[in-house]
Symmetry: C2
Subunit: 379 residues, 2 copies
């Protein structure tokens, strides 16, 4: 593999599974994988200050190109010195390309081989992105890791449509790779192919053709978690991960369910992102070692115990379920803050324990213990 | 004056004004006056964690008995070990009696010499408080400083109505004083009298009759800032403060405008509270050395300077006006958090500088400098 500015080292591998422990260097610091990336859609992880993310052990966050392009605009963020300075986060950032957001706006989306035309969700204004445009926008944002523009397909979806998306995404991967020349930004290609195992492998084959000429620093695995049954994803995910280059990070896009994360790690995935922990928090629900707790439930009204007695986060050491329930029912800002801190801690801590287990060669046992825990029954 | 568990020492007095520097001991620590108390209506200063309040130098916060009584209920808070433990704030707390909240719910309020009957704003349920009931509720909440139940009058208001409120409030002060026997809670009486200077002095005279038998640990000055012109308050505020015992703290209730605070300090007031800094923050407006900045204003769209170049708070050292405006327009939680931090810092820092000026005997000059500053023209 040619030299790269983003060296990725696989430091340990589990004996009984495909789980691996890695280290990815970026201009804003090293990332230990497997890693969960909290989502800061609009250049803010909702309700959480950057210093709180640091204290939680967040190594990298994700931000959304589609949303930032529309508001406040990527030119402004470039003027401000890039996303890191704009949002006061001096650690790694990944931006998606917006492919997934466009896909979920199918009403107003027009897609052809040259690019995508779409209408703003904010004001209906018309926009067009070629792969080159998308790279320019992500260059302006200045994240450490950027994603190719891709075509994501829904579930269910006709095979012919998925086939076209696979070919188009590979062609765009090439154009993105040619357009993206900023040495301070890693470019990840994205595997598509829906639930069709052969199309997934075809997608990887096409991307590796591009990669052979000019390598990608990593690979996203897109187009899962779009409504298909959980089991269906795992029918193909393992062979997808296995077909990707060993020496490059593998990022399963948009997945945040704890059980899914741990199972995906076992088949060789390194990176994850999802709005689930923070969105769930804003709805008043906590991830705990006993499963999900919906604090609106009347049984917590006089419960003076911590959210999760097994948890060491600031929310669990400082507050009771009764207090948190009071904040949720009163629609207090602090309910979102405290529950987001807890839910992020839950996932980040789970990843830290997963890394520890891989290091010790006991990941398969760790996964099994999780799967038979009360929490797993609820996720 | 008889022995008290809440010693208040006047440590310095300004030469050219009635401003004074004081120190009030409470079971949860000492309070240096003049002091501004951030408001945590529902056992949370909206959007701000207790550790952030500490970092901002908040010495004491205020919480609202009326709101907490209705939700989550004072029994629960007592069960939780009191307000301090419930909300994880191990520093002084003051609770108001609810007199002001009841007064602003005039539609459903019935008041007689024995007490008040009122309907819940949450569910319309009927409640009745005698002064003794109110003390019991505040005992359950367990704040360091509690306020007597009083009758607040609006502006404008007929003299006869104000006269009745003065008499009733004094009678209730006596009953509260008799009922409140928790040595870990200071009880403040409340001066009423509206804009009538003679009724204000009569109110004080009545309260001092009670005080002579069983002293109050301090005095609230209520019934101002209820819609009367600012100047009208200052026609009587000085003589009110002057007529109160020198050795007890004087608390002007519900006032948070920076200019008003500084002018009130000059006539001998020691304590203040107001929702203004946090409420204003949630509406997207910052208090700055140049006056108020409404971040929705388009002129801040590409403004990459700090909110207030003269400010050292975490918001001003970490973020630009353009970023904060982006958060406000995007209705992001962090806009409330960051602007509340800044606005609280603005007032708490102003109080720290006022204390410094009094200590140095230069308060009159400090006040004059403020009054001729650009900020003062806007407040």
């Amino acid at each position: 593999m040619p030299e790269t500015h983003f060296p990725f080292t696989v430091e340990a591998a589990d004996a009984a599974s495909a789980a691996r422990l890695g280290r990815l260097s970026t201009p804003h610091g090293e990332i230990r994988t497997p890693v969960f990336m909290p989502v800061g859609t609009l250049a803010t992880v909702k309700g959480i200050l950057p210093e709180q993310l640091e204290e939680l052990g967040a190594q990298i966050i994700l931000s959304n190109t589609y949303h930032l392009y529309l508001r406040p605009g990527s030119e402004l963020i470039e003027e401000a010195g890039g996303l890191h300075r704009f949002m006061n986060w001096d650690h790694p950032i990944l931006t998606d390309s917006g492919g997934f957001q466009l896909f979920s706006l199918a009403d107003t989306l027009k897609i052809d081989d040259e690019g995508v035309s779409f209408a703003s969700i904010l004001d209906g204004s018309k926009h067009r992105w070629t792969p080159e445009d998308n790279m320019r926008v992500q260059n302006q944002l200045g994240a450490d890791i950027i994603m190719q523009l891709d075509q994501c397909t829904p579930y269910p979806c006709e095979r012919a449509v998925v086939q076209t998306a696979v070919e188009r995404s590979a062609a765009w991967a090439r154009r993105c790779r040619q357009a993206q020349r900023n040495p301070r930004q890693a470019l990840f290609a994205i595997v598509q192919g829906g639930v069709f195992g052969d199309l997934r492998l075809e997608s990887i084959e096409r991307l590796l053709e591009v990669d052979a000429e000019s390598p990608f620093e990593g690979f996203g695995i897109g187009g899962y978690s779009v409504g298909e049954p959980h089991e269906l994803m795992f029918e193909t995910l393992g062979s997808v991960a296995n077909a990707l280059p060993h020496g490059r990070p593998r990022y399963l896009m948009g997945v945040g369910n704890p059980s899914t994360l741990l199972a995906a790690i076992a088949v060789g995935v390194d990176m994850f992102d999802c709005v689930l922990p923070t969105r769930t928090a804003r709805m008043g629900t906590a991830f705990t070692s006993e499963g999900k707790l919906n604090l609106r439930n009347a049984r917590f009204a006089r419960d003076l115990t911590p959210l999760d007695p097994a948890c060491t986060c600031p929310t669990c050491t400082g507050y009771t379920r009764a207090y948190l329930r009071h904040l949720v029912l009163s629609k207090e800002i602090l309910s979102s803050v405290l529950l987001s801190i807890h839910n992020l801690h839950f996932l980040l801590d789970l990843m830290a324990r997963a890394r520890q287990a891989i290091r010790e060669g006991t990941y398969a046992a760790f996964l099994q213990a999780w799967q038979s825990s009360p929490a797993a029954q609820d996720f």
